[in-house]
Symmetry: C3
Subunit: 138 residues, 3 copies
Amino acid sequence: MRTFTEYLWFETAKRLEFIRITDDVAAIVRKSAITDGMVLVSAMHITSAVYVNDWESGLIHDFQVWLEGLAPAGLDYRHHQTGEDNADAHLKRTLMGHQVMLPITDGALDLGPWEQVFYAEFDGQRRKRVVVKVMGTP
Amino acid sequence: MRTFTEYLWFETAKRLEFIRITDDVAAIVRKSAITDGMVLVSAMHITSAVYVNDWESGLIHDFQVWLEGLAPAGLDYRHHQTGEDNADAHLKRTLMGHQVMLPITDGALDLGPWEQVFYAEFDGQRRKRVVVKVMGTP
Amino acid sequence: MRTFTEYLWFETAKRLEFIRITDDVAAIVRKSAITDGMVLVSAMHITSAVYVNDWESGLIHDFQVWLEGLAPAGLDYRHHQTGEDNADAHLKRTLMGHQVMLPITDGALDLGPWEQVFYAEFDGQRRKRVVVKVMGTP
């Protein structure tokens, strides 16, 4: 059994941005030389998410509109009494989930036909990190 | 350390269906001969979920009503411009979560008294798959 | 590769209570002597959650208000026909997520600067358990 760890860094141009990272994760899995096991992909900042869903721009737009409805920006959140203005980003990231575990089989990510991994930034324009930790057998 | 992988297949009669899979997962864990570790149970399709909650038909009904309220079918989703009609299924599966990791201790699933694992189908009537990957020590 | 398992017990004074458990999990990881791997922290009861977010009382208040809005107590849930009165707790715990997997690197939890682990109780005043299972290399 071995482990292998790398970090992905993001600094988005916009506050809200969804970025496909399937290929980045797959490259780390290849580099790990682990052929069977699992890889954890987890946002290390608490206003961003990592999720698995469709790589279709219409649906990504739908996700963003839907999240704004369920966890709106600009409300009178108590968190904002600290000087922050991003309470909605904490809520939105909770709805999307902040981590996924991807299976590795026969040396590659073992994903369904439409599964794509995304990094979802809800409070960007600053440097943020995602940990990618692979664990399994060579 | 060893790994062991199997797949569960589903083709539900109805579009919306929640199916208890605790026993199926437990059987795979037994077959794996792994006595301590973890098992990942993850939907490989992006309009279905895997979650842990109560095996009580009233609550399952409540979940379904609640999801319809938070992520309704039939809205004018942009995803539907692709010809799809299932954007709500993508949102609902996100609320429920698409995967769980179950601990294995002393050769069995290490679950609390009411924990049951479910497959939640939101766009059924087609063949879909769940990956079950066990990792741990014999 | 080794595994190490402990349980955290909770019996909250109030029905709703959010408790920071980062240090408890870190102590179990130290005790495990596992220096690289992952630790699963998972609620074993189906009306409580385990999540990662900010250790800021205003935001915790915001989370609680927000959850009450999305999954209100006191509705005419079908689950209540069984004599239960906690359907909302099942829904709220689903929104927050019931488990997290934390990476372990160089002998410690590999968390971002603001990541804190919380136990969220939605139907307390009874004994409940969280499983903490560490897996990795010494």
